[in-house]
Symmetry: C2
């Protein structure tokens, strides 16, 4: 799945690499501002970053896919309506508060959009709002409106890095990926499974291109690509109320070939999806499950997700334990529960290239186990170590490498396949999500 497999000896090396990815396509500017405010729901002051991604001129060519959570945030409700508008002029993103199920949430989003529109000379309906953060709190509308002029004044072409940094919450590092098609570029940024205060993992992705891609084709391509990339990852099986993926074309560069554009977008999305997993909460091992020989892609995806979401298998991976019993249990649980007439009799399973299961029985020996343990250790991002108070936190704020635990499941029953990415289940995950209060 990755276009490259990098190693980063230090945070500085990772930042230099990010900067090299960060050139904005033509026709876009980004600007951010950070400000203090006091939420009405909590007595202590807090900080929020506003991020603007503006087009030099509004475009009809934009697309978005949103969370399937049945309690979507107010910005998702507004965003779905924006898809019917003739043009998009800017995207306005705030972190800290996700504006989900708060009284008056839609009105709050629209008020902030209207203020941004006045500053940018746009119609309010030309602004797409996005929020990520605490669920249940309301937006601090007045503070946001007061801060907007600073974000607008900061708008600049050149690098998307300020936006990549502006949208994060407790992500350990910003995420940027790009690729070129002819003279044009596709650049994407993502906010991953970090937590706010801590609260709910959310994913926001912005994909910008200067290539000419007509609105309807862009929407069709984004829907397909998101289904094959972001919809095939899972950190902890929880679905955010705010997940949003947006693609925007400034239409500045002729697109030689829409198929090439789609391939480029897919690569950027696949890389960002892997970045999101690698920086997932408490993730110490990225698990890449390649399911092949399935009757159809949906079966392959659901089987892959069942594996990366099985808690006991995830714990075994955290412990560098090639516990193949738990892998087989996870497969059997899924097939037993979902009840497809799926033939498991020819199933073959490999981890790190080692065959561990075939013909209905395990294929194990001591040498193979040693090779499996070595594979798991090589894929570990860092070693787990408790602090003096018994809590656990990642010791790095950059990805030391891009290796994965490679799991292959061949059903040998059909022509279809899929790759699914997930993470292990660690003390760092529990600390991030349970240890912040007693």
């Amino acid at each position: 799945m990755p276009s490259t497999e990098n190693t980063f000896p230090s945070r500085d090396a990772h930042r230099a690499w990010l900067s090299a990815q960060a050139a904005l396509p033509q026709g876009f500017r980004v600007g951010t501002t950070r400000f203090d405010f006091t939420p009405k729901e909590a007595p202590k002051p807090s900080k929020m970053t506003l991020t603007l991604i503006a087009l030099d001129s509004p475009t009809p060519d934009f697309a978005a896919v949103f969370t399937k959570n049945a309690f979507p945030g107010a910005p998702v409700l507004v965003g779905r309506r924006r898809l019917a508008e003739p043009r998009l002029g800017a995207i306005l993103i705030n972190n800290k508060i996700s504006n989900v199920c708060a009284p008056g949430g839609v009105e709050a989003s629209e008020t902030v959009c209207a203020a941004a529109a006045r500053l940018l000379g746009l119609a309010p309906t030309e602004i797409l709002p996005c929020s990520t953060g605490v669920i249940g709190w309301g937006l601090p509308v007045e503070s946001m409106v007061a801060a907007l002029p600073q974000a607008a004044a900061a708008l600049a072409p050149g690098s998307i890095l300020p936006a990549a940094e502006g949208i994060v919450t407790t992500d350990l590092y910003p995420k940027i990926r790009y690729t070129s098609v002819g003279a044009g570029r596709v650049v994407g940024i993502a906010k991953g499974a970090g937590m706010i205060e801590p609260n709910l993992a959310t994913m926001l992705v912005y994909l910008l291109t200067d290539l000419v891609v007509p609105r309807e084709r862009l929407r069709e391509i984004l829907s397909r690509v998101a289904g094959e990339t972001f919809n095939r990852i899972s950190i902890d099986s929880d679905t955010s109320t705010s997940d949003t993926v947006v693609a925007v074309s400034s239409g500045r560069v002729p697109c030689p070939d829409l198929a090439a554009f789609e391939a480029a977008l897919r690569q950027v999305c696949a890389d960002l999806a892997e970045d999101v997993v690698r920086n997932g909460e408490g993730v110490r091992h990225v698990l890449r499950v390649r399911v092949s020989g399935a009757p159809d892609a949906a079966t392959a995806v659901s089987l892959g997700k069942a594996i990366v979401n099985a808690p006991l298998f995830k714990c075994a991976m955290a412990g560098n334990d090639p516990n193949v019993g738990r892998l087989v249990q996870a497969i059997g649980k899924h097939v037993g529960a979902t009840g497809p007439a799926l033939d498991l009799s020819r199933l073959r399973a490999r981890i790190g290239g080692q065959e561990i299961f075939a013909d209905g029985a395990f294929r194990l020996n001591y040498d193979k186990e040693a090779a499996l343990i070595a594979h798991l250790k090589s894929a570990e991002l860092y070693q787990s170590k408790p602090a003096a108070d018994g809590t656990f936190a990642p010791p790095v704020d950059y990805p030391p490498h891009e290796r994965c635990v490679e799991i292959e499941i061949d059903l040998q029953t059909g022509p279809a396949g899929a790759t699914v990415l997930g993470g292990d289940l660690t003390h760092e995950y529990v600390s991030e999500n349970a240890d912040y209060r007693s």
Copy 2:
């Protein structure tokens, strides 16, 4: 759900209470033996307990339900065949090795059954075999056959406690529940979500009665009762390859009323199900979710399971954090993903009796939050504390109390409801399943 809500100040108090539950119904004897063996898959010696539950005379009146995992263990395959046999004479249970996907597993089970049958004067097909433990290893058939005479010699009427102790693996304590119907008794024991070495959580349950309940009625009743009790709990969403629930009648006491028997069996199963959750791996809070106002029971069960299986909500419970955003997220995720036309607009949610969500918005204030935190703390089984090496283990080997976190979800859209039990997600869970190797 519980028939009682006990508190136990000490292990001795809990043991005394267990002993008071433990009288065997007429017509049954139990015997166990513990022995050393060396698995062929691992170089170090190990210990296994064999447990026999024997009828004074074989009965046609027995029933069993088995795991839905698509890779069932060999004893499950054999057990399904035993349901067609005219009589059951004894149940033979081993811990330590689950005999799942090991070459020759069915033959190994049958060989041990044949040896037990010779000792007990039964036909081999009158013995129901059960195994729990490591997945992938083969049974040590010769050692088991050599140990069987000691188990048979130990067979005695009176107390089921030896069997309740014999079937456990790393359960913190044995589990026994009983009730009376007229002059007869229903007694049940369970092996819960402990781990072996550690490997895979499995559940084994044996329900014994001296009441006359004809075979076909017993099977119909067990299927219904298991569906309403054991199928409504989840420790970690993983489904064992060995789960088995067996009900046996010795037919010694006339049954005044089959409906009363069914109610008694349901109570025993509900209590055992709660025991299994309370002693679930790393469980510090038992979560009881009562869903009401659902269009049908299946919808209520699946919604309840989605809540007790949502990792972020489970972590919040572990941290005594009434994080209602994560509860709403879990509901929205499930309804969004499964796509029923379920109306959430009238949903009301309570935790510990406090209303936290109604009419599409949160209902929160400081006083309510304080009450919620107090409720969570009162339901905590013990406080989490790391050992010097950073690992976490439960400090008690008995249940200090039987309180739950009480979560009520009223959909207000229909007449149906269900109660689902689950646990929180803790450092103790991760330690048990990831920290045993590096």
